[in-house]
């Protein structure tokens, strides 16, 4: 194995993936791409093994291996031609949820298939029962937008217009969708061209050899990390608080992590049967969630490719909340259930590697989605707006404030852009005092965003969690604060939940609420749990928190034993 050549090729391919992502960002139309960066770009070898990926969205990074393998089972690889591009979003065939559209482009070099250029992106509007793609009250997949099995959107470099027409006829914002789908195509085109340059420069034989070495190297590195974890069976349970359609019912996520030498087997048996509402995770999501947790606990310098995932086995019994069966809905599984699964694995591993895990994070993307007809332009708009949360405290540091949940790595859309693109005025956006769980290392803070509706009507839906289930602490750390969604109707002084104002079953998951001009919506995001006893918090850290308004004097006294004034 030539370590220098391997390192050069690895860095080159990761750079290609980053450049693919930047192309996607810069050429896309919707804020979920060009501001939030809810996409990922990767490269695979011809067998479908992930060989390089850029550090965009972890949910998608872990999802790529199963996605590619599932697609390769269905397409006739021998009949592929240069310039073909395959599109896929089917949650039951390796996909993550209907908004996640994956483009695969075969990379041919001198007439031979050499690999795949891949781009996955969260399309903000996918049709279905609610604008913005997150119907919190969906009860079957058909409510969640158009399902696309692996189909050729381009054949030999030529658009397959029948597919385009079908895709764009089934969404509310065809112009924006067209731009975003083109951006994904631009990304895979770039990946293909750049890899052809690599093959030209180094030769097919050497590149194949080095890629094989790279996968084996990542596997060895991951095995060495796992081998250092004490063998054992580590368990943990967490719950999702609602499915949006069934009153007063929570859903268990059971995790059993078996560490056996240099292998990890993650068994979800014992998790709740699949829900009627859209909180179910697909197999791709549950697999990705397991990879996500293991990557968080291990050396970040291990190359992210299929080799590093080889020592990790995932067992997700079908028909459960962690492996949804057709035709149950799954749109919230990828955003809400994924971080709860990852958190549960980290919770289990706190018994084995306490210095490598964190207390619970907010574990929701808040998924506030909306749409309507813009009064000024007469054009339909739709938006997938995600908000950030507090992360859990760790054995060495406080949790991060206002960061996207563990599987997203996305950004929030800046207020200025949000207000320019959509008819809301953001009147307040501020971190919430005391929302971080108390601890020697405090949980990160969530925040509150208040918005005034400026359009005649905006139809909103939401898929979030932790309105009642607080983020747990570790090692004596206390729970973080809950989130909330409240509405204040024009002229009223009180704030109401969606249940109170619109008779919805869940405060955190609902569909198609019409917000009128002059109404206000207030989104509060959860904080993170604390790590370690609050009594052990360094006095200077406590003083700083008080000075900065991160904690109140009341909390300092009651939780931390503070005696000052």
């Amino acid at each position: 194995m030539d370590m220098v050549a391997m390192s050069i090729l690895d860095s080159t391919m990761v750079s290609i993936c980053r450049e693919m992502g930047i192309t996607l960002q810069k050429t896309s139309y919707s804020t979920i791409f060009n501001e939030a960066l809810d996409f990922t770009c990767g490269l695979a070898d011809k067998q479908g093994n992930l060989i390089a990926v850029a550090d965009f969205c972890p949910a998608m990074i872990g999802g790529i291996p199963l996605l590619v393998k599932s697609c390769l089972k269905e397409i006739d690889v021998a009949s592929l031609k240069e310039g073909d591009i395959i599109l896929h979003n089917d949650p039951y065939r390796g996909g993550l949820h209907t908004p996640e559209h994956t483009f695969f482009k075969p990379i041919f070099f001198r007439g031979e298939l050499q690999g795949w250029s891949i781009a996955i992106g969260h399309i903000a509007e996918v049709g279905g029962m609610a604008p913005g793609g997150f119907p919190g009250e969906a009860t079957e997949i058909f409510h969640e937008g158009l399902r696309v099995p692996p189909v050729k959107i381009k054949s030999a470099g030529v658009d397959n217009n029948d597919i385009w027409k079908l895709l764009l006829a089934n969404v509310r914002t065809p112009r924006t969708n067209y731009g975003d789908l083109r951006a994904l195509i631009a990304a895979v085109d770039l990946g293909e061209h750049q890899m052809i340059d690599v093959l030209e420069k180094y030769g097919v034989s050497d590149v194949q050899q080095i890629i094989g070495d790279l996968l084996d190297y990542a596997e060895r590195r991951m095995k060495a990390e796992i081998d250092a974890i004490p063998d054992g069976i580590y368990s943990f349970e967490d719950s999702v608080e609602s499915d949006g359609v069934t009153p007063d019912k929570t859903y268990r996520i059971a995790v059993e992590v078996h560490v056996r030498g240099d292998q990890i087997i993650i068994d979800y048996t014992g998790s709740s049967p699949q829900a009627r509402g859209p909180i179910n995770a697909t197999l791709g999501v549950s697999t990705s969630a397991a990879y996500n947790a293991v990557l968080h606990m291990t050396d970040p310098s291990i190359p992210r490719n299929s080799g590093c995932f080889r020592p990790i086995k995932v067992l997700a019994p079908p028909g459960t909340i962690v492996n949804v069966d057709f035709p149950a809905p799954s749109v919230g599984g990828n955003t809400e259930t994924h971080p709860r699964i990852t958190g549960a694995i980290l919770g289990a591993m706190a018994n084995a590697v306490p210095n490598r895990v964190m207390a619970a994070e907010g574990a929701t993307h808040c998924n506030f989605v909306f749409g309507g007809v813009d009064a000024a332009s007469g054009e339909y708009f739709a938006c997938y707006d995600l908000e950030t949360v507090g992360w859990g405290g760790r054995a060495f540091a406080d949790g991060n404030d206002a960061v996207d949940s563990i599987n997203g790595n996305c950004r929030t859309t800046p207020v200025e852009v949000f207000e320019t693109r959509f008819p809301w005025r953001v009147e307040r956006l501020a971190l919430d005092t005391d929302s971080g769980g108390a601890g020697e290392f405090r949980g990160g803070l969530g925040y509150t965003k208040e918005m005034l509706c400026l359009n005649e009507t905006i139809t909103v839906s939401q898929m979030t969690d932790r309105h009642f289930t607080k983020p747990w602490g570790l090692d004596g750390g206390l729970e973080g604060g809950c989130g909330a969604t409240l509405v204040q109707k024009k002229g009223a002084s009180d704030w109401q939940t969606m249940c109170e104002a619109y008779g919805k079953i869940s405060t955190s998951r609902y569909s198609n609420v019409d917000i009128r001009e002059g109404d206000r919506v207030k989104l509060t995001t959860p904080g993170g749990g604390g790590f370690g006893s609050p009594q052990k918090r360094a006095p200077e850290s406590l003083e700083r928190d008080l000075r900065d308004g991160y904690i109140s004097l009341e909390s300092a006294r009651s939780n931390y034993g503070y005696t000052g004034s």
Partner: protein
């Protein structure tokens, strides 16, 4: 995964009872059936039985 004869739609999603992976028709030779349940491999059959035993003894 059982596709229709014309290959245009799925008639039945077949998943391993233990690990939940889709079992495609082309992988059928590796498929194992035990007490009416379908598994993708002997490893999954063994794991499933051991888990049942382990949890029963708790």
């Amino acid at each position: 995964m059982k596709f229709s004869e014309n290959g245009l739609y799925i008639e039945r999603y077949i998943k391993c009872s233990n690990c939940g992976v889709l079992i495609y028709e082309q992988d059928a030779p590796q498929k194992v059936k035990v007490e009416g349940k379908e598994f993708c491999s002997d490893w999954c059959v063994k794991w499933s039985a051991e888990r049942q035993q382990r949890r029963a003894s708790k």
